[in-house]
Symmetry: C2
Subunit: 197 residues, 2 copies
């Protein structure tokens, strides 16, 4: 299986949750491999003058997003809780995700984090929650400490730069060949593109 799509996500992103829970099955059906790419939207938003999520900066857009997510999750039978704190700090989760070299383990960790956050309403900056997510994907709890290693911190900086150079401005984003697709609504289009290159 050489056809591939890159799945760029931020652990604090509601719509990334939607894609995280369905991308593997959707990709498998089309013979496409998924490369999970955690990154941070914060520095990308900051570069365009936003000091928080657009869903906080623009209240009408924020109100809409929560209702839109509720409707979609109800349709798809997905657990969903409106967050007390939004956006959550996704820094440590992103570092751990990046530190997990094994793509299967990284994907399982990501799904566990998203489920804890948006399904169960838990705080994904809490080391205990992250330890449970590591356990859920059979990864050593030592990866919690890896998040503090300078090389992992540097790797996440590089990852954000890579996202910027790909033209990424939001999450989830998908890259198939040289084509960028933005939003859970474009997942199928991205997979179709990947099958045709």
């Amino acid at each position: 299986m050489t056809k591939q799509v890159q799945f760029w996500f931020d652990f604090a992103s509601t719509y990334s949750y939607l894609s995280a829970v369905r991308i593997e099955q959707a990709a498998r059906q089309k013979g496409v491999a998924v490369s999970w790419q955690p990154f941070l939207l914060g520095p990308i938003f900051a570069a365009q003058g936003w000091d928080s999520s657009p869903f906080r900066l623009y209240p009408a857009k924020g109100r809409y997003m929560w209702r839109d997510m509720e409707r979609i999750c109800a349709d798809r039978g997905l657990a969903f809780q409106r967050q007390q704190i939004f956006p959550q700090s996704s820094l440590t989760a992103a570092r751990i995700g990046l530190a997990l070299d094994d793509m299967g383990q990284r994907a399982a960790f990501a799904r566990a984090v998203f489920a804890a956050e948006f399904g169960d309403g838990r705080d994904i900056s809490d080391p205990e929650v992250l330890a449970e997510c590591l356990a859920a994907c059979d990864a050593p709890v030592a990866f919690l400490d890896r998040a503090q290693d300078p090389d992992i911190k540097a790797a996440l900086f590089d990852q954000v730069d890579r996202a910027k150079s790909l033209g990424i401005f939001g999450a989830p984003s998908f890259v198939a060949g040289t084509e960028l697709f933005w939003g859970d609504d474009r997942l199928d289009a991205a997979l179709d593109w990947a099958t045709q290159i």
Copy 2:
């Protein structure tokens, strides 16, 4: 046919074009009537501190939008030209659209304007172009002058206030009952909602 969806659009909005060309057929198949509601995004963007389209203010988002539109239009067999001027001034077109009381005529006018603009790359603030669009929907060319009437100008102000009060922050938007849906990607969801209330 009492089930209805409101279709809120700005004539300068690329994604509104996508919905304008397909909403009537999609709605008819589900037994839903469409209420065409032209408005202006400018005052809504201004209220959140933007002095232009987000596609101009945020270049990465803008570059993406044009490519996304190209791909979607190619998929759907729709003519599409990148615009020399973007966003175009949609003020006169919106006033004329609002002045056309007959919903069938308003819809036909809107489709003609969108086709001239995004299909043929023409300037929709040009009275000659608007006159052709009026002719295309069998409406008197006198509607060009109606756009200057104080009552129509006031009606468009009210229309933008109505959009704000509905929580609208972008276009296209759809309202079914008390539910708001944003984006051409939500057209089917909006129609489904309309059938269930």
